[in-house]
Symmetry: C2
Subunit: 202 residues, 2 copies
DNA sequence: GTCTATACAACGATAGAC
DNA sequence: GTCTATCGTTGTATAGAC
Protein backbone atom coordinates (compact mmCIF):
# COMPACT_ATOMS: atom_id res chain seq x y z
CA UNK A 1 0.00 0.00 0.00
CA UNK A 2 2.46 2.64 1.14
CA UNK A 3 5.15 1.91 -1.35
CA UNK A 4 7.53 4.73 -0.79
CA UNK A 5 7.04 6.43 2.48
CA UNK A 6 10.50 7.87 2.67
CA UNK A 7 10.48 9.93 -0.47
CA UNK A 8 7.10 11.58 -0.19
CA UNK A 9 7.63 13.27 3.10
CA UNK A 10 10.12 15.88 4.15
CA UNK A 11 12.51 14.86 6.89
CA UNK A 12 11.92 16.60 10.15
CA UNK A 13 14.54 18.95 11.46
CA UNK A 14 17.51 17.58 13.24
CA UNK A 15 19.08 14.20 13.18
CA UNK A 16 16.80 11.26 13.80
CA UNK A 17 17.92 7.98 15.28
CA UNK A 18 20.08 6.32 12.71
CA UNK A 19 18.33 3.91 10.41
CA UNK A 20 14.83 4.48 11.70
CA UNK A 21 13.41 5.35 8.33
CA UNK A 22 15.19 2.48 6.67
CA UNK A 23 13.72 0.05 9.14
CA UNK A 24 10.17 1.29 8.64
CA UNK A 25 10.54 1.32 4.88
CA UNK A 26 11.75 -2.27 4.97
CA UNK A 27 8.76 -3.30 7.04
CA UNK A 28 6.33 -1.66 4.64
CA UNK A 29 8.01 -3.19 1.62
CA UNK A 30 8.20 -6.58 3.30
CA UNK A 31 4.48 -6.61 4.03
CA UNK A 32 3.72 -6.00 0.38
CA UNK A 33 6.18 -8.55 -0.96
CA UNK A 34 5.32 -11.26 1.55
CA UNK A 35 1.64 -10.70 0.89
CA UNK A 36 1.98 -10.92 -2.85
CA UNK A 37 4.47 -13.76 -3.11
CA UNK A 38 4.44 -15.67 0.16
CA UNK A 39 7.47 -16.36 2.31
CA UNK A 40 9.53 -18.32 -0.16
CA UNK A 41 8.49 -16.32 -3.18
CA UNK A 42 9.43 -12.96 -1.70
CA UNK A 43 13.12 -12.21 -2.04
CA UNK A 44 15.26 -10.06 0.17
CA UNK A 45 16.52 -8.23 -2.86
CA UNK A 46 13.05 -7.34 -4.08
CA UNK A 47 12.02 -6.14 -0.64
CA UNK A 48 15.13 -4.01 -0.32
CA UNK A 49 14.66 -2.58 -3.77
CA UNK A 50 11.06 -1.70 -3.06
CA UNK A 51 12.15 -0.01 0.14
CA UNK A 52 14.90 1.80 -1.70
CA UNK A 53 17.63 0.51 0.59
CA UNK A 54 20.46 -1.95 0.42
CA UNK A 55 19.69 -5.67 0.89
CA UNK A 56 22.34 -5.76 3.59
CA UNK A 57 20.04 -3.67 5.74
CA UNK A 58 17.78 -6.68 6.13
CA UNK A 59 20.56 -8.51 7.85
CA UNK A 60 21.53 -5.52 9.85
CA UNK A 61 18.11 -4.70 11.21
CA UNK A 62 16.34 -8.02 11.34
CA UNK A 63 19.07 -10.61 11.36
CA UNK A 64 17.89 -12.18 8.13
CA UNK A 65 14.85 -13.01 6.08
CA UNK A 66 13.06 -14.84 8.89
CA UNK A 67 13.41 -11.97 11.30
CA UNK A 68 12.03 -9.58 8.76
CA UNK A 69 9.11 -11.88 8.15
CA UNK A 70 8.01 -12.19 11.74
CA UNK A 71 8.45 -8.45 12.17
CA UNK A 72 6.50 -7.52 9.09
CA UNK A 73 3.74 -10.12 9.06
CA UNK A 74 0.47 -8.52 9.88
CA UNK A 75 -3.00 -9.70 9.13
CA UNK A 76 -4.58 -8.08 6.07
CA UNK A 77 -7.64 -7.08 8.04
CA UNK A 78 -8.01 -5.27 11.29
CA UNK A 79 -9.22 -7.72 13.91
CA UNK A 80 -10.60 -4.90 16.03
CA UNK A 81 -12.74 -3.62 13.22
CA UNK A 82 -14.11 -7.05 12.44
CA UNK A 83 -14.94 -7.80 16.04
CA UNK A 84 -16.56 -4.43 16.50
CA UNK A 85 -18.70 -4.64 13.39
CA UNK A 86 -19.77 -8.13 14.23
CA UNK A 87 -20.79 -7.51 17.81
CA UNK A 88 -22.79 -4.42 16.96
CA UNK A 89 -26.25 -5.86 16.25
CA UNK A 90 -28.51 -8.85 16.73
CA UNK A 91 -26.47 -11.76 18.10
CA UNK A 92 -28.58 -14.23 16.17
CA UNK A 93 -27.51 -12.66 12.90
CA UNK A 94 -23.87 -12.18 13.74
CA UNK A 95 -22.83 -14.93 11.34
CA UNK A 96 -24.22 -13.00 8.42
CA UNK A 97 -22.30 -9.90 9.43
CA UNK A 98 -19.13 -11.89 9.87
CA UNK A 99 -19.43 -13.35 6.40
CA UNK A 100 -20.23 -10.03 4.75
CA UNK A 101 -17.31 -8.38 6.47
CA UNK A 102 -14.86 -11.05 5.39
CA UNK A 103 -16.21 -11.19 1.85
CA UNK A 104 -16.09 -7.45 1.35
CA UNK A 105 -12.50 -7.28 2.57
CA UNK A 106 -11.27 -10.33 0.70
CA UNK A 107 -12.94 -9.49 -2.59
CA UNK A 108 -11.43 -6.03 -2.82
CA UNK A 109 -8.29 -7.41 -4.43
CA UNK A 110 -9.84 -10.57 -5.83
CA UNK A 111 -8.63 -12.53 -2.85
CA UNK A 112 -5.00 -12.23 -3.85
CA UNK A 113 -3.80 -11.10 -0.46
CA UNK A 114 -5.88 -13.76 1.26
CA UNK A 115 -4.58 -16.52 -1.00
CA UNK A 116 -1.06 -15.36 -0.21
CA UNK A 117 -1.86 -15.44 3.48
CA UNK A 118 -3.23 -18.97 3.25
CA UNK A 119 -0.09 -19.94 1.38
CA UNK A 120 2.08 -18.55 4.12
CA UNK A 121 0.00 -20.21 6.80
CA UNK A 122 0.24 -23.56 5.08
CA UNK A 123 3.97 -23.43 4.49
CA UNK A 124 5.42 -21.43 7.36
CA UNK A 125 5.02 -22.58 10.91
CA UNK A 126 5.45 -19.06 12.19
CA UNK A 127 2.50 -17.88 10.13
CA UNK A 128 0.47 -20.89 11.27
CA UNK A 129 1.12 -20.01 14.88
CA UNK A 130 0.02 -16.45 14.29
CA UNK A 131 -3.12 -17.59 12.53
CA UNK A 132 -3.81 -19.99 15.36
CA UNK A 133 -3.78 -17.25 17.92
CA UNK A 134 -5.60 -14.86 15.64
CA UNK A 135 -8.53 -17.17 14.98
CA UNK A 136 -8.72 -18.69 18.40
CA UNK A 137 -8.39 -15.62 20.49
CA UNK A 138 -8.47 -12.29 18.79
CA UNK A 139 -11.38 -12.75 16.44
CA UNK A 140 -13.65 -15.64 17.28
CA UNK A 141 -12.63 -15.80 20.87
CA UNK A 142 -14.02 -12.38 21.52
CA UNK A 143 -17.00 -12.81 19.25
CA UNK A 144 -18.07 -16.12 20.72
CA UNK A 145 -17.52 -15.05 24.29
CA UNK A 146 -19.90 -12.18 23.70
CA UNK A 147 -22.72 -14.27 22.25
CA UNK A 148 -22.42 -17.74 23.75
CA UNK A 149 -20.09 -18.49 26.62
CA UNK A 150 -20.43 -22.27 26.63
CA UNK A 151 -17.76 -24.32 24.87
CA UNK A 152 -16.07 -21.12 23.86
CA UNK A 153 -12.90 -22.61 22.44
CA UNK A 154 -14.64 -25.33 20.49
CA UNK A 155 -17.03 -22.83 18.93
CA UNK A 156 -14.18 -20.57 17.97
CA UNK A 157 -12.31 -23.43 16.33
CA UNK A 158 -15.43 -24.54 14.47
CA UNK A 159 -15.99 -21.04 13.16
CA UNK A 160 -12.39 -21.15 12.04
CA UNK A 161 -13.05 -24.26 9.99
CA UNK A 162 -15.88 -22.65 8.09
CA UNK A 163 -14.05 -19.39 7.42
CA UNK A 164 -10.75 -21.04 6.55
CA UNK A 165 -12.57 -23.51 4.31
CA UNK A 166 -14.36 -20.72 2.51
CA UNK A 167 -11.05 -18.96 2.02
CA UNK A 168 -9.43 -22.10 0.64
CA UNK A 169 -12.23 -23.03 -1.74
CA UNK A 170 -13.11 -19.57 -3.00
CA UNK A 171 -9.70 -17.93 -3.21
CA UNK A 172 -7.03 -20.64 -3.30
CA UNK A 173 -8.56 -23.68 -4.98
CA UNK A 174 -11.08 -21.48 -6.80
CA UNK A 175 -13.74 -24.12 -7.09
CA UNK A 176 -16.80 -23.03 -9.00
CA UNK A 177 -19.48 -21.89 -8.55
CA UNK A 178 -18.34 -20.68 -5.14
CA UNK A 179 -15.30 -18.95 -6.54
CA UNK A 180 -17.25 -16.32 -8.42
CA UNK A 181 -20.77 -16.10 -7.04
CA UNK A 182 -22.10 -12.92 -5.46
CA UNK A 183 -21.99 -12.24 -1.75
CA UNK A 184 -25.68 -12.81 -1.19
CA UNK A 185 -25.54 -16.36 -2.46
CA UNK A 186 -22.54 -17.14 -0.30
CA UNK A 187 -24.13 -15.61 2.77
CA UNK A 188 -27.43 -17.40 2.22
CA UNK A 189 -25.65 -20.70 1.90
CA UNK A 190 -23.08 -20.45 4.68
CA UNK A 191 -24.46 -18.04 7.30
CA UNK A 192 -26.86 -20.54 8.90
CA UNK A 193 -24.05 -23.03 9.39
CA UNK A 194 -21.71 -20.44 10.83
CA UNK A 195 -24.49 -19.22 13.09
CA UNK A 196 -24.92 -22.70 14.48
CA UNK A 197 -21.25 -22.77 15.41
CA UNK A 198 -21.67 -19.42 17.14
CA UNK A 199 -24.91 -19.82 19.06
CA UNK A 200 -26.49 -23.14 18.13
CA UNK A 201 -26.59 -26.53 19.79
CA UNK A 202 -23.38 -28.48 19.24
CA UNK B 1 19.50 -37.84 7.37
CA UNK B 2 19.32 -41.21 5.76
CA UNK B 3 21.83 -40.49 3.09
CA UNK B 4 21.95 -43.80 1.35
CA UNK B 5 19.00 -45.91 2.21
CA UNK B 6 19.42 -48.45 -0.50
CA UNK B 7 22.74 -49.74 0.59
CA UNK B 8 26.13 -48.45 1.47
CA UNK B 9 28.11 -50.13 -1.24
CA UNK B 10 29.71 -47.96 -3.84
CA UNK B 11 27.74 -47.37 -6.96
CA UNK B 12 29.34 -47.82 -10.24
CA UNK B 13 28.39 -46.05 -13.35
CA UNK B 14 26.06 -47.61 -15.81
CA UNK B 15 23.07 -49.79 -15.53
CA UNK B 16 22.49 -51.33 -12.15
CA UNK B 17 21.78 -54.99 -11.47
CA UNK B 18 18.24 -56.03 -12.13
CA UNK B 19 15.80 -55.98 -9.27
CA UNK B 20 16.63 -52.54 -8.00
CA UNK B 21 13.76 -50.27 -8.76
CA UNK B 22 15.01 -46.73 -9.04
CA UNK B 23 11.62 -45.43 -10.05
CA UNK B 24 9.90 -46.77 -6.97
CA UNK B 25 12.72 -45.57 -4.72
CA UNK B 26 12.34 -42.09 -6.15
CA UNK B 27 8.60 -42.13 -5.58
CA UNK B 28 9.03 -43.20 -1.97
CA UNK B 29 11.68 -40.60 -1.32
CA UNK B 30 9.65 -37.94 -3.09
CA UNK B 31 6.61 -38.60 -0.92
CA UNK B 32 8.67 -38.15 2.20
CA UNK B 33 10.42 -35.01 1.03
CA UNK B 34 7.31 -33.38 -0.41
CA UNK B 35 5.49 -34.27 2.77
CA UNK B 36 8.05 -32.73 5.04
CA UNK B 37 9.01 -29.70 3.02
CA UNK B 38 6.34 -28.95 0.46
CA UNK B 39 6.88 -28.55 -3.24
CA UNK B 40 9.33 -25.65 -3.19
CA UNK B 41 11.14 -26.77 -0.08
CA UNK B 42 11.81 -30.26 -1.35
CA UNK B 43 14.77 -30.37 -3.67
CA UNK B 44 15.41 -32.80 -6.46
CA UNK B 45 18.85 -33.40 -5.08
CA UNK B 46 17.58 -34.27 -1.61
CA UNK B 47 14.98 -36.63 -3.03
CA UNK B 48 17.58 -38.35 -5.18
CA UNK B 49 19.98 -38.63 -2.28
CA UNK B 50 17.30 -40.13 -0.07
CA UNK B 51 16.53 -42.62 -2.80
CA UNK B 52 20.23 -43.33 -3.21
CA UNK B 53 20.23 -42.49 -6.89
CA UNK B 54 21.38 -39.69 -9.13
CA UNK B 55 19.34 -36.51 -9.43
CA UNK B 56 19.33 -36.95 -13.18
CA UNK B 57 17.06 -39.94 -12.70
CA UNK B 58 14.26 -37.58 -11.80
CA UNK B 59 14.45 -36.16 -15.26
CA UNK B 60 14.87 -39.51 -16.87
CA UNK B 61 11.87 -41.13 -15.23
CA UNK B 62 9.49 -38.26 -14.61
CA UNK B 63 10.57 -35.50 -16.94
CA UNK B 64 11.45 -33.14 -14.12
CA UNK B 65 10.43 -32.06 -10.67
CA UNK B 66 6.86 -31.34 -11.66
CA UNK B 67 6.39 -34.76 -13.16
CA UNK B 68 7.79 -36.39 -10.07
CA UNK B 69 5.45 -34.36 -7.94
CA UNK B 70 2.27 -35.31 -9.73
CA UNK B 71 3.44 -38.92 -9.85
CA UNK B 72 4.34 -39.07 -6.19
CA UNK B 73 1.47 -37.03 -4.91
CA UNK B 74 -1.27 -39.38 -4.00
CA UNK B 75 -4.45 -38.32 -2.41
CA UNK B 76 -4.38 -39.64 1.15
CA UNK B 77 -7.76 -41.24 0.65
CA UNK B 78 -9.23 -43.44 -1.99
CA UNK B 79 -12.03 -41.48 -3.67
CA UNK B 80 -13.81 -44.64 -4.73
CA UNK B 81 -13.80 -46.04 -1.23
CA UNK B 82 -15.09 -42.83 0.26
CA UNK B 83 -17.88 -42.48 -2.25
CA UNK B 84 -18.87 -46.08 -1.81
CA UNK B 85 -18.88 -46.01 1.96
CA UNK B 86 -20.80 -42.77 1.99
CA UNK B 87 -23.54 -43.80 -0.39
CA UNK B 88 -24.13 -47.10 1.36
CA UNK B 89 -26.68 -46.16 4.00
CA UNK B 90 -29.23 -43.60 5.05
CA UNK B 91 -28.82 -40.48 2.87
CA UNK B 92 -29.78 -38.28 5.80
CA UNK B 93 -26.79 -39.50 7.77
CA UNK B 94 -24.27 -39.45 4.95
CA UNK B 95 -22.50 -36.43 6.45
CA UNK B 96 -21.61 -38.40 9.53
CA UNK B 97 -20.17 -41.23 7.46
CA UNK B 98 -18.19 -38.77 5.36
CA UNK B 99 -16.67 -37.18 8.42
CA UNK B 100 -15.84 -40.49 10.08
CA UNK B 101 -14.21 -41.75 6.93
CA UNK B 102 -12.04 -38.67 6.52
CA UNK B 103 -11.10 -38.55 10.18
CA UNK B 104 -10.12 -42.20 10.37
CA UNK B 105 -7.92 -41.89 7.30
CA UNK B 106 -6.33 -38.58 8.22
CA UNK B 107 -5.64 -39.49 11.82
CA UNK B 108 -3.73 -42.64 10.97
CA UNK B 109 -0.50 -40.69 10.45
CA UNK B 110 -1.37 -37.75 12.64
CA UNK B 111 -2.49 -35.78 9.64
CA UNK B 112 1.03 -35.45 8.31
CA UNK B 113 0.18 -36.50 4.81
CA UNK B 114 -2.90 -34.32 4.80
CA UNK B 115 -1.02 -31.28 6.04
CA UNK B 116 1.48 -31.84 3.27
CA UNK B 117 -1.32 -32.05 0.77
CA UNK B 118 -2.82 -28.79 1.99
CA UNK B 119 0.61 -27.19 1.76
CA UNK B 120 1.00 -28.38 -1.78
CA UNK B 121 -2.49 -27.26 -2.72
CA UNK B 122 -1.83 -23.81 -1.33
CA UNK B 123 1.51 -23.33 -3.04
CA UNK B 124 1.33 -25.31 -6.26
CA UNK B 125 -1.21 -24.54 -8.94
CA UNK B 126 -0.99 -28.08 -10.25
CA UNK B 127 -2.01 -29.45 -6.88
CA UNK B 128 -4.77 -26.86 -6.62
CA UNK B 129 -6.16 -27.97 -9.95
CA UNK B 130 -6.06 -31.60 -8.87
CA UNK B 131 -7.79 -30.78 -5.63
CA UNK B 132 -10.36 -28.71 -7.49
CA UNK B 133 -11.35 -31.60 -9.70
CA UNK B 134 -11.13 -34.06 -6.86
CA UNK B 135 -13.46 -32.16 -4.56
CA UNK B 136 -15.85 -30.92 -7.20
CA UNK B 137 -16.29 -34.04 -9.20
CA UNK B 138 -14.85 -37.24 -7.90
CA UNK B 139 -15.94 -37.07 -4.30
CA UNK B 140 -18.71 -34.61 -3.59
CA UNK B 141 -19.98 -34.46 -7.10
CA UNK B 142 -20.93 -38.08 -7.02
CA UNK B 143 -22.10 -38.02 -3.43
CA UNK B 144 -24.31 -35.00 -3.86
CA UNK B 145 -25.78 -36.14 -7.13
CA UNK B 146 -26.89 -39.32 -5.43
CA UNK B 147 -28.62 -37.65 -2.53
CA UNK B 148 -29.80 -34.23 -3.74
CA UNK B 149 -29.80 -33.31 -7.40
CA UNK B 150 -30.62 -29.61 -7.04
CA UNK B 151 -27.76 -27.09 -7.06
CA UNK B 152 -25.31 -29.93 -7.34
CA UNK B 153 -22.19 -27.89 -7.96
CA UNK B 154 -22.88 -25.36 -5.23
CA UNK B 155 -23.51 -28.11 -2.69
CA UNK B 156 -20.30 -29.86 -3.68
CA UNK B 157 -18.32 -26.64 -3.27
CA UNK B 158 -19.91 -25.93 0.09
CA UNK B 159 -19.05 -29.40 1.32
CA UNK B 160 -15.55 -28.67 0.15
CA UNK B 161 -15.37 -25.60 2.36
CA UNK B 162 -16.28 -27.53 5.47
CA UNK B 163 -13.91 -30.41 4.80
CA UNK B 164 -11.03 -28.20 3.68
CA UNK B 165 -11.58 -25.96 6.67
CA UNK B 166 -11.54 -28.89 9.04
CA UNK B 167 -8.32 -30.06 7.43
CA UNK B 168 -6.73 -26.65 7.79
CA UNK B 169 -7.74 -26.06 11.40
CA UNK B 170 -7.16 -29.57 12.72
CA UNK B 171 -4.04 -30.60 10.86
CA UNK B 172 -2.29 -27.49 9.52
CA UNK B 173 -3.04 -24.68 11.95
CA UNK B 174 -3.65 -27.19 14.75
CA UNK B 175 -6.03 -25.00 16.67
CA UNK B 176 -7.21 -26.47 19.94
CA UNK B 177 -9.43 -28.04 21.04
CA UNK B 178 -10.29 -29.20 17.54
CA UNK B 179 -6.76 -30.35 16.83
CA UNK B 180 -6.84 -33.17 19.35
CA UNK B 181 -10.40 -34.02 20.25
CA UNK B 182 -11.89 -37.42 19.58
CA UNK B 183 -13.83 -38.28 16.47
CA UNK B 184 -17.21 -38.33 18.16
CA UNK B 185 -16.92 -34.75 19.30
CA UNK B 186 -15.89 -33.60 15.85
CA UNK B 187 -18.69 -35.53 14.19
CA UNK B 188 -21.30 -34.26 16.62
CA UNK B 189 -20.21 -30.71 16.03
CA UNK B 190 -19.74 -30.69 12.28
CA UNK B 191 -21.96 -33.40 10.82
CA UNK B 192 -25.21 -31.41 11.03
CA UNK B 193 -23.64 -28.54 9.13
CA UNK B 194 -22.21 -30.78 6.47
CA UNK B 195 -25.53 -32.56 6.19
CA UNK B 196 -27.24 -29.26 5.47
CA UNK B 197 -24.84 -28.67 2.58
CA UNK B 198 -25.65 -32.11 1.26
CA UNK B 199 -29.41 -32.34 1.58
CA UNK B 200 -30.67 -29.25 3.44
CA UNK B 201 -32.25 -26.02 2.29
CA UNK B 202 -29.68 -23.56 0.99
C1' DG C 1 25.74 -56.39 -30.40
C1' DT C 2 22.02 -53.27 -29.07
C1' DC C 3 19.46 -50.88 -25.98
C1' DT C 4 18.89 -48.33 -21.95
C1' DA C 5 19.29 -47.39 -17.17
C1' DT C 6 22.62 -45.21 -14.75
C1' DA C 7 26.37 -42.01 -12.71
C1' DC C 8 29.15 -38.03 -13.16
C1' DA C 9 30.06 -33.47 -14.46
C1' DA C 10 28.86 -29.14 -15.49
C1' DC C 11 25.79 -25.20 -16.84
C1' DG C 12 22.98 -21.02 -16.18
C1' DA C 13 20.20 -18.93 -12.90
C1' DT C 14 19.14 -17.26 -8.52
C1' DA C 15 19.30 -15.90 -3.83
C1' DG C 16 21.33 -15.24 0.72
C1' DA C 17 25.54 -14.02 3.14
C1' DC C 18 29.37 -11.14 4.13
C1' DG D 1 28.95 -4.99 -4.58
C1' DT D 2 31.05 -9.50 -4.52
C1' DC D 3 31.14 -14.09 -3.25
C1' DT D 4 29.42 -18.46 -2.57
C1' DA D 5 26.12 -22.03 -2.08
C1' DT D 6 22.57 -24.42 -4.18
C1' DC D 7 18.91 -24.98 -7.23
C1' DG D 8 16.82 -27.58 -11.56
C1' DT D 9 18.39 -29.23 -15.58
C1' DT D 10 21.21 -31.22 -19.50
C1' DG D 11 24.93 -33.79 -21.92
C1' DT D 12 27.62 -37.78 -22.19
C1' DA D 13 30.27 -41.88 -21.13
C1' DT D 14 29.49 -46.48 -19.38
C1' DA D 15 27.92 -50.86 -17.32
C1' DG D 16 24.74 -54.25 -17.40
C1' DA D 17 20.36 -56.40 -19.23
C1' DC D 18 18.44 -58.61 -23.22
Amino acid sequence: MVADERGSRARSRGRRPAGENTRAALLDAARIEFTERGFDGATVRAIAQRAGVDPAMVNHWFGGKDGLFVAAMEIPVSPEEIVHRVLDGDPERSAERILRTFLSVWDTDGGGALAALMRSVATHEEAARMMRELIGRVIFGRVVSAVAPDQLELRAALCGTQIAGLAMVRYVIRLEPLASTDHNTVVTAIAPNLQRYLTGIL
